[in-house]
């Protein structure tokens, strides 16, 4: 094996310890960061994510409240809940766990979260900021994937990068984040004629499709970085979108699955919580400054 593994766990731990310092600083100013997680109906599918987030929050000094609503709650009621949380100054971030029941369209809910409390970075205004090169609260997975690339001794400016997968919450935001950092980015997807032609010419490849074995060693330029965002269950094992055996022979650096992008994603969620809290504190002070007492 040739590729150096990018250790997401230790990078995440480092991030969390920085975050914990900032959290206690904010708490000392009366702004203890606090997240509320909302799941609806059967929680089996999201349970593991919620537990991970809870654990990560605890070690990062962020308070975490998991709420579950029964699946007969109406859209209007849920939006009402969100409006309450939007208005509550003790709540700094709202997480909407997926999957949601069919009668609750996820995009409508995401739009109902106040942009300053959008710690998942899913609100159109959050995405718009990324496109305009102004990273405020970015979608966690995309930001985490780019964070991992940043830990490598590669100059991102001018770097040729291929992003495989053009989903709205992962592939496309990764492309725009990298473009903002000066990379030349190509976005491939299921209609692309030859993914290999693009990926083989790239210094770094990101893959976020959800198809195990999609990227093989012969698609990678020797020495390139490979960031694997896929999480798939195959024969009871968790694997990424890249074929580990062949890719690790060719790539210079590679993220393992599990233990690569996943842990950093949760840490970025916590960092967003801190950032959101700070934005809210500033907004509060600004509004207070203009109030005549």
């Amino acid at each position: 094996m040739r590729a150096a593994l990018i250790d997401g766990k230790s990078i995440a731990a480092e991030l969390r310890s920085e975050i914990a310092k900032e959290a206690s600083e904010l708490a000392s100013k009366g702004w203890q960061p606090r997240l509320v997680s909302i799941s609806v109906g059967d929680t089996a599918a999201s349970e593991i994510y919620v537990r991970n987030q809870q654990r990560s929050a605890e070690s990062a000094g962020v308070q975490f409240e998991a709420r579950n609503y029964s699946d007969d709650i109406s859209m209007e009621q849920l939006v009402g809940v969100l409006q309450g949380l939007n208005a509550d100054p003790r709540v700094n971030g709202i997480i909407i766990q997926r999957p949601l029941p069919a009668h609750i369209p996820v995009k409508t809910l995401q739009k109902a979260v106040h942009p300053l409390k959008d710690v998942e970075g899913m609100h159109p205004a959050s995405i718009g900021n990324i496109v305009y090169n102004d990273l405020q609260l970015g979608p966690c997975t995309a930001v985490a994937a780019v964070e991992l690339l940043k830990t490598l001794p590669l100059k991102i400016e001018g770097l040729d990068v291929t992003v495989i997968g053009h989903s709205e919450i992962v592939g496309k935001p990764i492309a725009f984040l990298l473009m903002g950092l000066g990379a030349t980015v190509t976005v491939c997807h299921h209609m692309t004629r030859s993914v290999a032609m693009h990926s083989r010419a790239s210094d770094a490849v990101f893959v976020a499709v959800g198809k195990p074995g999609l990227v093989t060693g012969d698609m990678i330029k020797p020495g390139a970085a490979l960031i694997d965002i896929g999480i798939n269950r195959v024969d009871g094992k968790t694997v990424g979108d890249a074929e580990f055996e062949t890719c690790s022979e060719v790539a210079g650096w590679m993220t393992p699955v599990p233990g690569g992008v996943g842990p950093v994603t949760v840490a970025v969620l916590m960092r967003n919580a801190i950032h959101a809290t700070r934005l809210q504190m500033e907004a509060y002070r600004d509004s207070y400054a203009n109030t005549e007492v």
């Binding site: 995009k107 205004a125 995405i127 718009g128 496109v131 001018g158 473009m179 030349t184 997807h189 209609m191």
Partner: protein
């Protein structure tokens, strides 16, 4: 010269015709007249020309045009008050603030004060995000015009390699999103790109939007590719007179390309046509009516 010349003037006229037909129907069937408000602050001569021709074309397709000309020293407060008033005016379906604004005004703040549903320029941060997440939005006019021309020329764009040269907020980035939406494989190249000629050479579709006169030359173009030239640059010709050129070197690119847009007369005329199309789309959405076909992304 082998390339088909994509005639933007004719194409823009056909878009305006479609818009005008739809406006007539809206008036007859629903008693609604779409309205576009254009706000101009100061006396920038180029902006005055744009505003005048926008107003003229708005009226020609049967819409109401509302022009608001403000003094160059207008305060932010007054400008925001005008925008709030236009946001609340049911006769106004589209609001356009002519850029650039004088230095003392924060254009981000002003643009984001427009109701996103009336933001016919598509620059409001919410519209940028909606486009980025594949949702219904108002799409910036120039890239929308490019997309219409490409769809008209190619039919389906699915699977084609597209290279967008330039990563500006108003053309390059939304263009990339639109091409992805139509299932192109998209590369965004820019000033930091290492080997621009070889990146461009892979493209079935090249969209050049960098503002560098005649930067893209025929040697960079894959034979048969479609070249969309968004640049408009004024350069001094050999005879000492000024002339307009694009970001592509027309003669050499036209030798190799399958199709090309000229400058002037290519992308340029499409921008205002798409502004009218956006105003019509916004009007239909505001009234809960079906959107016209083929006039948005």
């Amino acid at each position: 010269m082998g390339a088909t010349v994509i005639n933007g003037k004719e194409f823009a006229a056909s878009v305006r015709e479609k818009v005008a037909e739809h406006v007539t129907r809206l008036k007859e069937d629903n008693n609604i007249t779409p309205g576009l408000a254009v706000v101009l602050v100061g006396e920038d001569p180029a902006s005055q020309v744009y505003v005048r021709s926008k107003g003229k074309q708005t009226v020609e397709v049967g819409m109401n045009s509302y022009e608001h000309k403000l003094e160059a020293d207008t305060s932010e407060e007054d400008l925001l008050a005008l925008i709030a008033q236009l946001n609340n005016d049911p006769a106004v379906h589209g609001i356009l603030v002519q850029l650039p604004l004088p230095d003392h005004l924060d254009s981000d703040l002003v643009i984001n004060a427009i109701d996103p549903a009336k933001d016919v320029d598509g620059f409001h941060i919410s519209n940028v995000g909606l486009l980025g997440t594949g949702q219904k939005s108002m799409v910036p006019c120039t890239p929308l015009g490019c997309l219409m021309m490409l769809r008209d020329h190619h039919g389906s764009l699915s699977g084609l390699n597209a290279v967008v040269v330039g990563r500006s907020n108003i053309v390059g980035k939304p263009m990339a999103q639109l091409l992805l939406g139509d299932s192109c494989t998209v590369t965004i190249a820019h000033s930091r790109t290492k080997d621009l000629p070889s990146v461009v050479r892979q493209a079935d579709i090249v969209v050049a939007a960098v503002g560098r006169p005649e930067m893209v030359i025929g040697d960079w173009i894959k034979p048969g590719a479609t070249v969309i030239d968004v640049g408009i640059n004024r350069i001094e010709a050999a005879d000492g007179k000024n002339r307009l050129v694009g970001d592509c070197h027309y003669e050499s690119c036209a030798e190799v390309a399958g199709a090309i847009t000229p400058v002037p007369g290519g992308v340029g005329p499409m921008t205002i046509a798409c502004l009218l199309a956006n105003t019509l789309t916004a009007c239909c959405r505001a009234n809960g009516l079906p959107e016209p076909d083929g006039l948005t992304a």
